[in-house]
Symmetry: C2
Subunit: 332 residues, 2 copies
């Protein structure tokens, strides 16, 4: 299999991309890793590269500040766009990028292309849960408004992803809502509920925001707006609590000594709640596999994204999604 | 002034209501406190009641399990409904209830009645912030879907409330959104943004969920669905973190000893983040003042709700809201 990495995307690129690619190529000899980017920047970093690691030159770069649609349309030779084109044309089985999120969503839509039957591809990161299993939440992408049918498709795609990539036999799919009763919610969730019930998934009904962290479901379905509020509140609350605790714990020598004893526990909790620890986020509903790494990805994170992409390709994720979606459409 | 208390509403009623009413009547001699409820249940609890505390008998009770609209329509002699009727008919200047939230919203709409010019009354609790000031968030009531015009009115009502009741000269009003730029958001927030700009308020633009806790604004405008996700995620994250820390901190004797030193700090943080500490939530946009106490209110919380209602009545909150809203309508 061939996995293309947008070598120029991310805060620590291209160093992080090359490090991750080197480690991945060494660990998985069945994978051909292709670094897409400026040859002149990448080559000096590739020391002792194994034979399954190569460079595909692309001259341009899309920056974090670039306006997504414009950048993807105009920079036809940007590393991200070239990697997307390789997926579309079958030169790569998957692509990974830690670059500009909006531009990657646009590359997915305009370059890789939508899967037939899917109206809205969805970005599906893992949100941390206290048991460490995490929940796949979608959509957390650029689609702020969703229709009930989109939410139903998110549920189906998320379920298949967790089966194929995480090996969960019957992923529990929940709908983010304001109460657990079926009739609760806004117009969108009330209309989506019966559609999710009809899907060939383990739909566990509505899930309240406070129960997401305790692992009430394996897949959380939401529109991009509500998902963003959930994720940012979680981040904000955890971050604020840690900084307040830190402040309290360094107030006196007595507190400092006590806090030192508890530091390993605190650090463990911080890690549990850090969603960046949970690997790349697939962009589901495209005709090929696209994995988004966090902007701050280091080499380890890039390697983990390769691991994820590799399992997805091995398990024929895109093909399964396509069969399920088209089967569903025929059945309608 | 006369303040009616639905004496039968809340998990700890009528004990909590009577305790709160007794304490309030003793502290504020300018307020006539009227306990509305079953005389036979209330009288035995009223020991050494001052002369400014009285009972208004109401035979029926609305339970937490009652279906709101049905209950308000059928139980015409329920304590909550009777208190609402007293406000509408000018027999009370304000009412307080810690009972069934849906039923209280319905009582507000059907019994007390909407303020002219307001389409959707909004429930406005305080969400805790780390600096202890808190942010008034609205709507966090039964209106799951909102129109842009509703959000604009929420901003105006919230701003006047914080001026009048909390004495903030220029309350900063923020719109809950997924990014700070004006063009960010879903269809609702994008349409509400320019309407909020036109309001006679200190509109500070979009506020991200992660910045709410750090006090980015004094009034947070949102629809009921997004507000619920925010509040429940905050509660859930804080609760889960405390329980995880507790678990870690009691793992070994060494940890237990260290944790004991830090316990006062932890307790302080827990209190800061507990939104039940922040008093009752006004139901804004009605033709009279209605304050909702938390379901788990104790006597102290009921007394605090009376304090809040008293300040609101003294500062002529309802009249100011009405003038501002009708002025706004004339200007249009």
């Amino acid at each position: 299999m061939r996995i293309a990495i947008d070598a120029m995307g991310g805060d620590h690129a291209p160093k992080s991309s090359v490090e991750g690619a080197l480690a991945a190529a060494r660990e998985w000899s069945d994978a051909n890793i292709i670094l897409v980017g400026r040859k002149q920047d990448l080559e000096p970093l590739m020391i002792n590269a194994p034979s399954n690691l190569s460079i595909h030159h692309a001259e341009e770069v899309i920056d974090a500040e670039d306006e997504p649609v414009k950048a993807v349309r105009r920079k036809k030779d940007a590393s991200m766009v070239v990697a997307g084109r390789m997926v579309r044309e079958g030169e790569a089985d998957a692509m990974i990028s830690a670059g500009n999120t909006g531009a990657l969503m646009t590359t997915g839509l305009l370059v890789v292309g939508r899967m037939e039957g899917i109206e809205r591809p969805a970005l599906a990161p893992m949100i941390p849960t206290l048991d460490g299993r995490g929940v796949l939440a979608l959509d957390l992408g650029a689609n702020m408004d969703a229709k009930p049918e989109h939410l139903a498709q998110y549920g189906l795609m998320g379920s298949i992803y967790r089966q194929k990539v995480h090996g969960i036999a019957k992923p529990r799919v929940g709908l983010l809502n304001v109460g657990t009763e079926a009739k609760k919610g806004n117009e969108l969730t009330k209309a989506a509920y019966p559609l999710l019930e009809e899907m060939p998934i383990e739909f566990v009904g509505n899930v309240e925001a406070r129960d997401v962290l305790t692992g009430a479901c394996d897949v959380l379905v939401c529109d991009g707006f509500a998902g963003n509020i959930l994720l940012k509140t979680l981040e904000g609350t955890a971050g604020a609590m840690f900084s307040l605790l830190k402040q309290e714990f360094t107030k006196s020598l007595k507190n400092k000594l006590a806090a030192a004893v508890l530091m390993p526990s605190m650090r463990g909790l911080k890690q549990t709640l850090d969603y960046k620890e949970h690997g790349g986020a697939p962009l589901l509903g495209l005709s090929g596999l696209v994995v988004k790494g966090h902007g701050s990805s280091d080499g380890e994170a890039i390697k983990n994204a390769v691991r994820q992409a590799r399992v997805a390709v091995q398990s024929r994720l895109t093909e399964s999604l396509s069969e399920e979606i088209s089967g569903k459409r025929v059945a309608e």
